[in-house]
């Protein structure tokens, strides 16, 4: 790093009209078309786009690492003014890892599970600088310190599985920086991590880039994150860069219709679901081999005019790839869709009281038997209490491992409760497994699952799967009537009737999730539990699914228990929120109450960690230290005490916190006094000068 003199050209990396194609059985598929981008020293440039838009291919093409069937078919990549295409294999090896380094999405997959972190880190200086092993060791330990890992010597001796996901990613970043690279490529570096961990990693990358003057290319689908970390942003669609510019400008004055559409898909913390519903982009991303001629976004664009947009490749014009951007008035497209009337709430139909679910973990080793501890318990749910009314949306929020999915499984009867009660429609269901519930009870409570690829049986047609539920729970037996009902359900989720004959592999992720919604609503349920229904989907698809769920909920007066880690979606969807941490409820109350002070310290940190795709919003930064404690061995007192920035003292570690109650059914489990909780500033606020 330090060897790079300041007399060198400003651009470290120049990409000029890059085109990349993959040859497959279906012919040559263009993955990236006419892509140009410059990266200056110390600059941080973001590349956003939905899955399949070619953003990862760009990163791989920079490294010239495209696999056997991929190749650069046009354009140039220049690194320090040198054409990467001219480098032979040994020269390329010297560049990779030493001058251009990469950080991947899955830290567990990026690290070799059979080598210690130390062995993997030392390898970088040993290979690239040929220094002595002792020097390599010293450099590695120093780097672990630089990435703020506690106790570097212990981490050096650890295997990847012995440290947490956030620590693994820090180690991977450290490994990337050990070669003192000039360019750092980050491919979704925080997507696999929890938000509070993500906040720490993002801060670390920003700090290190400044410190070492590294230019970074940050690839992500998360627009909010881009706003926080990047100086400039490029928006990709279907293999093309459609717009690039300053981060501020892209967010405040987007010019390309796709950029604008993408921004309209994101629930903002101050948006209201009734007044300003999300507006999904119509249609779907074309497959690379069936890209339309002319503008790739044409078929989905409101301002499409065949004679202007439909012919020839559209060139970049003042950093926008749109033939009509000067003609489109941004005020034409009003932000958000049509407003909806308020949703009336009815009586309480779901009451959860003191719910507990413990899993026994058996250890049959001799040592455990001698110690008399052969069975230990994971307390996945502990003393959960909340209720839901007819037509209401209650969100359960928390990071991975907080027990929210276990709660869903207990409610559905996939697991039975260890203690406490679950009353649903005036009947106790907590201790009753799904197999022992009556068809009416089963039909009244249904579930939407997270992973669209896993939610449908791949061997059965869509119609057969929905029809089965109609016969089982809708009490229809006549074949013609079942078919009619399946048709109606498909229509409800806005899929054409022909889809009944299709198989899951012929559907896109969003379409699969629509079928799953139709299946959940086939038995006319009174309540639906949605376990992260949109988190595996692309931004624009997620917006469409969110709106669909809301519409169907309104029409049927269904109660929705919405389980999520995405606070933006929760703010937008929920009437009331329950915040969970390590199996316990930390805070619950109306959505308004949760998102404004007083906060539970954990909620406060969570709110601060969530990236918001709106430049007019200002946040207080609170970054949590440490990792989530093991569920097998949770802290004795308050579960959050080990990471709490507002910890008062020993009382937090020793005693379970009392419930502090505020007006409007808002309660916070914390040792801090009511007054101390009330005096905090809001985490999210509109910037004064912007309004």
């Amino acid at each position: 790093m330090t060897e790079i003199s300041h007399s060198e050209p400003a651009s470290v990396l120049e990409i000029e009209n890059l085109s990349v194609s993959y040859s497959t059985r279906a012919g040559e598929i263009p993955a990236v078309v006419d892509f140009s981008l410059n990266l200056a020293r110390g600059e941080s440039v973001g590349l956003v786009g939905e899955s399949g838009c070619g953003k990862s291919t760009v990163a791989m093409a920079i490294m010239r690492y495209l696999g056997a069937n991929g190749g650069i078919v046009g354009g140039k990549v220049r690194f320090h003014g040198r054409d990467m295409a001219e480098l032979d294999a040994p020269a390329l090896r010297r560049v990779r890892g030493a001058q251009i380094a990469m950080v991947y999405q899955e830290p567990m997959a990026a690290l070799n599970p059979s080598l210690t972190i130390g062995e993997q880190l030392r390898e970088v200086p040993l290979v690239h600088t040929g220094c002595a092993p002792s020097e390599a060791h010293a450099l590695s330990v120093q780097m672990l310190r630089d990435v703020h890992l506690p106790d570097p010597d212990r981490i050096m001796a650890s295997y990847p599985h012995q440290i947490s996901g956030g620590q693994q990613q820090r180690a991977v970043i450290g490994m990337a920086l050990l070669g003192r690279p000039a360019v750092l490529l980050l491919d979704e570096p925080t997507t696999a991590l929890d938000v509070t961990v993500e906040a720490g990693i993002v801060e670390l990358i920003a700090e290190l880039s400044r410190k070492f003057g590294i230019a970074s290319l940050y690839i992500s689908h998360n627009l909010g994150l881009m706003l926080e970390v990047c100086d400039r942003i490029g928006v990709m669609y279907s293999g093309e860069l459609v717009e690039q510019g300053d981060t501020e400008t892209i967010f405040s004055q987007p010019r390309h219709p796709y950029t604008r559409g993408l921004l309209d898909c994101i629930p903002l913390p101050h948006a209201d679901k009734q007044e300003r519903p999300l507006r999904a982009i119509p249609g779907r991303l074309p497959l690379p081999q069936e890209r339309p001629s002319g503008c790739g976004f044409g078929p989905r664009c409101e301002s499409f005019q065949p004679e202007i947009c439909g012919v020839g490749p559209i060139p970049m014009d003042e950093n926008v790839r749109c033939a009509r951007w000067r003609d489109i008035d941004p005020r034409d497209s009003k932000p958000g869709g049509d407003s909806r009337p308020d949703n009336p709430l009815g009586d309480t139909i779901l009451e959860v009281a003191d719910l507990r679910k413990h899993f026994a973990i058996r250890n049959n080793s001799l040592r455990a038997m001698v110690a008399g501890r052969t069975v230990r318990y994971v307390k996945a749910n502990e003393d959960l209490t909340f209720d839901a009314r007819k037509g209401e949306t209650v969100a359960i929020v928390g990071e991975s491992g907080c027990g929210k999915s276990t709660l869903a499984r207990v409610l559905m009867g996939l697991e039975t409760a260890t203690g406490g009660t679950v009353r649903f429609q005036d009947a106790e269901v907590g201790g009753i497994s799904a197999g022992d519930r009556s068809p009416a009870q089963l039909g009244a409570l249904q579930m939407i699952f997270q992973n669209p690829d896993d939610t449908l049986n791949p061997s059965l047609s869509v119609g057969a799967q929905i029809g089965r539920v109609v016969r089982k729970l809708g009490a229809e037996t006549d074949a013609a009537k079942v078919r009619e009902r399946v048709r109606k359900l498909l229509d409800m989720v806005k899929l054409p009737a022909e889809f009944a004959a299709r198989r899951p592999r012929q559907l896109s992720g969003g379409q699969k999730q629509r079928v799953a919604i139709a299946r959940a609503f086939a038995g006319k349920p009174a309540a639906v539990i949605a376990d992260e229904p949109i988190s595996a989907l692309d931004v624009s698809v997620a917006a469409a699914i969110t709106e669909l769920i809301l519409d169907i909920q309104r029409e049927n007066g269904t109660t929705l228990v919405f389980i999520s880690h995405d606070l933006g979606a929760v703010r937008y969807l929920a009437d009331r929120v329950v915040v969970m941490y390590l199996g316990r409820i930390m805070e619950r109350g109306s959505t308004e109450a949760i998102f404004s002070p007083p906060y539970h310290p954990y909620t406060e940190a969570l709110l601060s960690a969530v990236p918001i795709a709106d430049p007019t919003v200002e946040k207080r930064r609170i970054v949590l230290e440490g990792a989530l404690p093991s569920a097998l061995d949770p802290p004795k007192g308050c579960p959050f005490s080990t990471r709490c920035p507002r910890r008062i003292g020993a009382i937090c570690d020793e005693e379970a916190p009392p419930s502090r109650v505020f007006p409007g059914g808002h309660s916070i489990s914390c040792h801090l006094s009511v007054d101390a909780l009330e005096i905090v500033e809001p985490v999210i606020a509109l910037k004064v000068d912007a309004s």
Binding site: M412, L442, N457, S459, R468, V469
Partner: protein, 290 residues
Amino acid sequence: MSDIANNAHGASLLRAIGLLRESWIGMIGAGLISFWVLVALFAPLLAPHDPLAILQPFAKPGALHVGTGSTLWLGTDNLGRDILSRIIWGSRTVLIYAPLATFCAYAVGIFMGLAAGYHRGWWDMVLSRIGDIILSFPVLVLYIIVIATFGASGLNIVIAITFASAPGIMRLVRGLTLDLRNRDYVAASHTRGESAFFIMLVEILPNARGPLIVDACVRLGYVIITIGVLGFLGLGLPPPDPDWGGMVNEGRSMAMIFPHMTIIPCVAISSLVLGFNLLADGLREVSLRD
């Protein structure tokens, strides 16, 4: 339930055959198998002689028949029976009993594997230990015990092979079931109150079919070898019915002087086994592509 499952299988089978055309290895395998299937089907038309008729002993391949002057393409055996006709008729034995035995082994293995993998706990404990015990015997010893107890017949070959192969199939199915039972669509079927039987047969088994079909092809090859071995050991079909393994055994003592008597049935066995193995490779290749 059955109509759901049927239409699923029909379509995917057609798709698999369509895709197989892109793998030349698979096509060679399918060609070898079809050749023997056609030979078995049209045995009465193809065989020049009665397989049991005694013509002239120790004729070499290509020798002329003393009586009629016709060519004995593959020669005759020590009793003077036409080897070509015996190979043609013998293909029927293999192609009836090998698929039948494999099918029975699969029926038993799938049932045990599904039950063990789906219910886990005691079911798994008991079924897996039974399987382990059977697998711990040398296979040949098992065959000899079963056939010696029940006597040599086509049905007993099927029983012996089912008994020895079902535990291996059970292990495979159990492993696949343990993975598939955690899928969300299985959870969804629980939440609409489906029976364990429905979940195993409709939600789990059809989605395990990929590895099972490939394994079935490989296993069919082994079963053909097994039937040959049983015939060789005199535990196959009782003589004088033509049986490839039995023919190898009959020619064994004269293998140095009249090698054709053993080589020809060996080539027949190998070509059919090779056919099934190549087909399995082709199917695996095709399934990995998509």
